[in-house]
């Protein structure tokens, strides 16, 4: 693969803290190897900003392997940038060409307040999990793992939903800032398994209630969430959630 060094213009959202109004700043970045990752380009820019006694751009990142879910940039109007099924940290500069202007913003959603620059607060996701995203089993006396055979098709579907990395791209892409893809992926992961059955109804009721409380919007089946999901979580999970939610609402055990 031939690589070149390219020059780019970056328009980046800068916001000192959660109360600051914020705005775009423009930066010229020169001589960027196309072998770099998108975040490595930010590293280079930040080193230059520090040398010029300017404040470097704050952004979330950790594993840089596409699995921790921490990186979160809205690049040219799309969460995680132009590549399919990809996270910001795995986006490489081959995706861009000489002279291009790239616009970088944080996730935008009322439930994800901005902390600084491109960093947002996603603790609302943790609270949705706290509302029911688990199976209530204490440590210690679980039965033998093979005592409970699970159909491979169901296990695979559960796994596909459990692949969610909790990055929040689905919320950022949604015109309603809905967290339905995130929530439904977790509900499907657990509700597709026999272990998840006892809490199936309360799980969806409580998680949806928490989502509403956090200020996420409603789902209007636009599908933008699925289109940008780095782990290709399917909106079939939202249909599964709606079914479980309806059943739970109609047939109460209490």
């Amino acid at each position: 693969m031939e690589h070149q060094n390219i020059n780019l213009k970056l328009k980046v959202w800068r916001q000192k803290n959660s109360t600051d109004k914020g705005g775009f700043e423009t930066y010229d970045v020169k001589n960027i190897s196309q072998e770099m990752s998108f975040l490595e380009m930010f590293d280079v820019l930040n080193e230059e900003l520090i040398a010029e006694d300017k404040d470097p751009i704050a952004f979330d990142h950790d594993c840089r392997e596409g699995i921790c879910g921490m990186c979160s940039m809205y690049i040219n109007g799309r969460p995680h940038g132009p590549w399919e099924a990809n996270t910001t940290c795995q986006l490489h500069m081959r995706a861009f060409s000489e002279g291009e202007t790239i616009v970088v913003e944080p996730w935008r959603a009322n439930a994800f307040p901005i902390i600084k620059d491109l960093m947002v607060d996603r603790t609302a996701f943790d609270r949705i999990i706290q509302a029911g995203g688990y199976i209530s089993v204490n440590t210690g006396n679980a039965v033998d793992a093979n005592a409970l055979p699970i159909e491979k098709a169901k296990a695979d579907a559960s796994f596909a939903a459990a692949a969610c990395i909790g990055c929040g791209a689905c919320v950022a892409a949604c015109k309603n800032s809905s967290a339905m893809l995130f929530l439904s992926a977790k509900a499907a992961h657990l509700n597709l398994l026999p272990q998840g059955q006892p809490e199936r109804k309360t799980r969806v009721m409580n998680m949806v209630a928490q989502m509403d409380k956090e200020g996420f919007g409603a789902c209007t089946n636009t599908g933008a969430c699925e289109a940008v999901c780095p782990k290709e979580i399917s909106i079939t999970n939202i249909a599964r959630l709606n079914l479980d939610y309806t059943c739970a609402g109609l047939v109460s055990d209490k």
Binding site: E65, C68, Q90, I129, A162
Partner: protein, 656 residues
Amino acid sequence: MIDAKIPAGSLDSKWTKYKSTCKLVNPANKRSLEIIVVGTGLAGASAAAALGELGYKVKTFCFQDSPRRAHSIAAQGGINAAKNYQNDGDSTYRLFYDTIKGGDYRAREGNVHRLAEVSANIIDQCVAQGVPFAREYGGLLSNRSFGGTQVQRTFYAAGQTGQQLLIGAYQAQERQIALGNVVQYSRHEMLDVVMIDGKARGIIARNLVTGELERHFGHAVLLCTGGYGNVFYLSTNAMGSNVTAAWKAHKKGALFANPCFTQIHPTCIPVSGDHQSKLTLMSESLRNDGRIWVPKQQGDTRKSIDIPEEERDYYLERRYPAFGNLVPRDVASRAAKERCDAGYGVGTSKQAVYLDFAAAIQRYGKIEAGKRGIEADAETITQMGKDVVKEKYGNLFDMYEKITGENPYEVPMRIYPAVHYTMGGLWVDYELMTTIPGLYCLGEANFSDHGANRLGASALMQGLADGYFVIPYTIGNYLADEIRTKAIPTDHAAFAEAESKVRDRIHMLMNIKGSKTVESLHKRLGKIMWEKCGMARNAEGLKQAIKEIQQLKNEFWSDVKIPGEINEMNPELDKANRVADFIELGELMCIDALNREESCGGHFREEHQTEEGEALRHDDKFMYVSAWEMKGEHEWEMHKEELNYEVVKPSQRSYK
């Protein structure tokens, strides 16, 4: 001599006996006992969940924005357990033996046997929590072999085993948060341990969003803060992985054991340039099907596909006919380095070797054609073979292509070894307690179970064993004597003093206002460590490295440049705090490597090798854990913990 407090009795009865004789805390008292857990990876999250379930009051801390981000999530391959579901002869003893041998006879028998014993419980527990492990069509769990073991004992969830296990532990932790037993502090970094009357009684943590320092009391403190691979700057660790919490404990008196034992993983994507910020691992499972080679001709500049078969050197198959491409990690890594150093490396940097799937594609293609009973042409066979490889390794191939821009179905992957895991860590006894009473260390952050080299699929096992099944027992043995200790108010002088020292250090860092960025200094530290304390070490290089690191430390503390303010989100300041600790650790690693005049596991001293270039252990002189006590700046004293092998008989490892 330090005492590991290994229970008496036969190896397989020690843990059972310990569990039935250790002290217990009654439920009413548990409610008033507070425990601090730092780090929320597999060890921290599982410990927090298990202790919360028991009724203790738990506080958990992580520097990321959510406990679910911890780097355990990136583990790909799997988790070992002695379940013997495949009826292929596995047992607790075999898992114990493989781990001891894989660790090149530098781990404790008692700890490792306990690990093997609880391994089966981990799988049961995870399945009960809903961890979606891979399954067979009959609905039962699937296993694969991993890292060259002779049995199939590895449980997995595609290439995302770490993610699924961590999410399981995270959910268990979140459940305890919802129940009010655990309080989580995200975007918080521990910056000191608070000691009162010789016991760990709390921590000073910095809120990374506001920059404020906070005091937190605990009857006991658990450090579950992971490994220190980022001392090399480039590693497969996450960007934020650091040694700071463990290092603060070390400076307060906790011994640091075997710091030079680092694992270099053979199959990582090579460095592409100076901008490189981290390295990405390609799962070891690729070696099950990929063949590793370099050109036979030095400095060959032809493209891989233009080099004919007879001009390729499959050096692992040549050197190790019995294990071939499946030799353990340390052996495979050194062999790659040897070829590259000798001028046979490939790619633009010449610091890479090929991992080639062409033969596997043909082999699988032919099998498929046979299965379907068709006479296929070469093109169809290749296509069917590619489909099989895609099913097995598709996600890894996609990741490789994203990073390198090359299609590994068409051209061989380029790989090179990279720092991956650190076997060394805080010294702990059988109960996982450090040399500071009340201060525990779990998971990768401690040194206890992997000796000088960790086997594949054993890190996840150890993290969860420590958190779910060991600490709930051992901490009770300590806290049973603490039930009369009332929660100590955080206006106690010890908290005030610790906080003011942390504050002074931060101010000192911010006031240097020098000219060099944290990143540039960290890169230089990494270069020293990689070149002189990396895959191969020698006395001269290590002595030089110690001098260079001491000099770098002076430079750091006189010329580092940190932008921004203290009381705001300031990632550069966070990083500076961590790099300052890495520099001190780097010096200790070199001292330890210099002291250990033998080659074992991941530690290869060039002066100590066989005629064929294999690692040469000196069991007569170095059958011990080196546990270092900090005495002052640049000054450490070594304490030895002798390793007594009562059951296993150490032998020279051979994979020929």
